[in-house]
Symmetry: C2
């Protein structure tokens, strides 16, 4: 009901003296004194045009106090754009808010957005014309009402169109993505060379860990540089058919990175589908398998929920010209026996050398088989198994390592692992009934992962294994004693791995009656 | 579906060297280099505890680049809290997000919030534990689904409890509020001394203009200081029964100010009801009239919508122990003949001297009458008229002016008005059919109001007046020629005042057929 911010503040302008903040923020930012902002008629999170000697840039307004009234503080992005020095005078003019704010407001009122509107929103996000408050309102409304196929497709498309693209001029282009949430998932490190060794193109971009002990980029970085440019990535793929590079600096679907910055503090991710689909389309993927780990400790808790998500991604993929299949995988325990960059890189290498754990091999070959089936290969799982057991996949990985600038002769023993360790042992006989994935991830992070590559956890058991009292269950590995001690404390506070006999212990836990004023939690969707 | 940000980042800590930013931001803020933040395991908008020599403060994390990895940039709030100097080392520890983020997420999922949860959210807003992204998500979800009586009451109560209170130990305490949106509304300047002159207590706090040419605080400031402390305000009311002070620095319902900072860029105000009710409760109001101007150019467009809003405020008032009545007033043209701080202060003074325009006098006395009826005064409108016509209200205003520190002898001619002017004349004979309130407000702002107190607009006509071609319609007044020219341009672009003959001109405007890809606008509620 309030009038738009544009009202009554066109036309005013001021000359202000530059003072450099001496840091970059990812977008042009200016800080004005409260009184200066009042004089200009601008408020926090609004936009001003800064002009100097024929150059201009739009900056977001921050308002402060105790700043001289003739001074404007500017970050490195402004300095770089205007080429100004401390004390130089620049012209400052308020600028109207982008029209995409109206679309976000319409969405809050219940409208669904057209492609033209979504394209404008995404452009304004990419070019830093929307503030994080405005993006947060968008994220909130989409989370609250759901995105739906149509909007998910529009956002995916708009994100692709506003970013870089990998132009390989090949077809088919295979790809794989995991929505994550299970510690120790080194599937990609094995799957990419397996597929590439069969002559298929798989230009894999990966992320670093945010809340987990290792992302694929962190794991791969133990073996080779992953911070490649788009041009370098292209060369690697043209030479080897595959690559494993960090996607964060490639400017593929850059709107997504800015949306994630806002989603993260709220711990919600309503842009999951476009985020995945846009990045895949940007590298030209034509055939894609999405791994949805399902389980209590994973992101997706139930098969039903996984099917819902899968349908969305398949449907959006169809509209984008990508053949998508989804693999629902068992996500109630870590994949293989390790979590942490170096431990996982070692386990992946060992697996390619024929010494891998059963669940990891099955996961890799199942997904590889599904992916190969999309391009008409029959018995793809067997084909993939063969590529691994005959050493073709290992040879391909070494080729990729070399082309990306790593040491192709690296052996598992060359990979340094932290030398500070402690082990937790079974307190009674029984069967491994459950593992708390989130706690295991936390412990690995407290031990130092992903920053300390040699930190992490090593499991001695998997679900269903029988153990005797005193058998080792899990070893925490760290590069620093202090971090090891911090990680150790978790075991004192909460059970991490459950050992028991279900036929004797049906009571798993007790939920006490709520205290007055306590509200029952919302069931997670 | 993503795990909470808390996951896996407890326990890490770092020593960093302080570098001062040399400005205040309204809350403690620290800027870390991207790599330093990664090492600490914190991300933008998360919180860190800063410790130094026994002192500590929680700061919000900003992430930048090009900052030395052993340096932390801090604003004045951090410097003041820790008493640190440039180069001093401080301890930096990540801290978990406040639990109120979970309540906001629950609200996004469809839950309604309990009082305990709302209290926690409001506290975390007041104490700067929630970032603006998190507040934006709250604002968005409340806008999207509506607040309802229960939540509005809880928010009002929580806002009162987390701010200052005016303790007058008097009863009844009368009050008046306008939800605004009509230019030239100087009702309060006349109503407060009228009510106070009748022996009733009316401790009025007012706001400054945000998008309008003048707020009540801007108008009153032409006559007297309005930037009083709570203690000073109390003294004025104890002496004169009334006051007109700026509410922005009194720390009444401080959560509201922080919420408004986030609502503003989105041009939405879902917290309207608690925002009003909390500030009234904080000054101890027992009887309150809320003015809801209704009309095409006002905030509220229709009578139906006004009734809905009125019911909400009456209901929330009841729960807070405030007797509320709402006055729906005609809002299709400015009140009186002026808009702009000095022009309006002059018109208010003249009105109290018996030389006021009919619509303004009727508005003041109608609202005063309604307010007096709440405390059992019969024929209150006549009583108020009498207080004005007999000069009692003027004497009271001069008393308030003197007690607040202004010149009690001020006459309308003492008030300086801008000397740059231009006038728009009728281009044909006819009747004044409509005025565009928003454009009139814009023109007054472009002319310099509210910053230039002497700027604004002066109407020569009101709705229904008959004019001849060449009669003056509106004069724009400014202190600067450049601003006058900017304001003048508006008239070239859009009609501001409609002169015509409805019996001959039924076609008001034409909406062309939409172009392909153009979506019809959402009808404003």
């Amino acid at each position: 009901m309030r009038s738009t911010p544009l009202q009554g503040k066109m036309g005013e302008s001021m000359k202000l003296k530059v003072k450099k903040l001496h840091f970059a923020s990812g977008r042009p930012i200016a800080v004005l004194d409260d009184s200066t902002a009042l004089g200009l008629g601008v408020r926090p999170h609004e936009r001003i045009v800064l002009r100097c000697r024929g150059r201009e840039v739009i900056a977001l307004v921050n308002v402060g106090w105790h700043i001289p009234s003739d001074v404007i503080l500017v970050n490195d992005e402004v300095v770089d754009a205007l080429k100004v020095e401390n004390g130089e005078e620049i012209e400052v003019v308020p600028t109207p808010p982008p029209e995409s704010i109206e679309y976000i407001r319409d969405r809050l009122k219940g409208a669904r957005l057209s492609y033209r509107e979504i394209k404008k929103i995404v452009e304004d996000i990419v070019y830093d014309r929307l503030s994080e408050i405005e993006i947060a309102a968008l994220v909130a409304t989409i989370y609250q009402t759901g995105m739906g196929i149509e909007e998910a497709y529009y956002f995916s498309l708009a994100m692709v169109e506003t970013g870089n693209k990998l132009e390989l001029n090949r077809t088919p282009i295979l790809d794989k993505h995991s929505i994550g949430g299970v510690p120790g998932d080194k599937t990609t490190l094995i799957l990419v060379p397996t597929i590439a060794s069969l002559g298929y193109t798989i230009p894999k971009t990966s992320s670093r860990a945010i809340t987990s002990p290792a992302g694929t980029a962190d794991r791969a970085e133990v073996l080779m540089p992953v911070n490649l440019s788009l041009e370098e990535m292209k060369e690697v793929v043209q030479k080897t058919n595959g690559c494993i590079v960090w996607g964060g600096a490639l400017y593929l679907a850059p709107a997504d990175d800015k949306i994630i910055r806002v989603e993260y503090p709220l711990s919600i991710d309503p842009f999951l589908v476009p985020s995945i689909m846009a990045k895949k389309k940007a590298v030209g993927s034509t055939h894609l398998v999405i791994d949805i780990p399902v389980g209590r400790g994973a992101k997706v808790k139930t098969i039903g929920e996984a099917h819902y998500l899968a349908r969305e991604m398949i449907e959006v993929g169809k509209r984008m010209g990508i053949t998508v299949a989804c693999a629902l995988t068992f996500g109630e325990q870590p994949i293989g026996y390790t979590a942490g960059p170096a431990l996982e890189a070692r386990e992946a290498l060992l697996t390619l050398m024929g010494k891998g754990p059963g669940d990891l091999i099955d996961k890799v070959t199942s997904i590889a088989g599904l992916l190969l089936s999309l391009v008409g290969v029959e018995k793809g799982k067997e084909v993939a198994k063969h590529a691994i057991s005959k050493g073709k996949a290992l040879t391909k990985l070494r080729e990729i390592i070399e082309t990306q600038g790593g040491d192709p002769k690296i052996s598992p023993d060359d990979i340094p692992i932290g030398d500070k360790k402690f082990t937790i042992y079974a307190e009674n006989d029984g069967v491994i009934l459950w593992m708390n994935n989130k706690l295991i991830a936390n412990i690995a992070r407290l031990a130092g992962a992903p920053k300390d590559k040699g930190a992490g956890v090593l499991l001695h058991v998997k679900l269903g294994d029988s153990v005797k009292k005193g058998d080792p269950l899990i070893t925490v590995v760290s590069e620093y004693s202090t971090k090891l001690q911090t990680a150790e404390k978790v075991f004192e506070e909460q059970p991490v791995i459950g050992v028991g006999r279900p036929e004797e212990e049906m009571l798993v836990d007790i939920v006490p009656a709520p205290r007055p004023h306590e509200r029952l939690p919302i069931i997670e969707r």
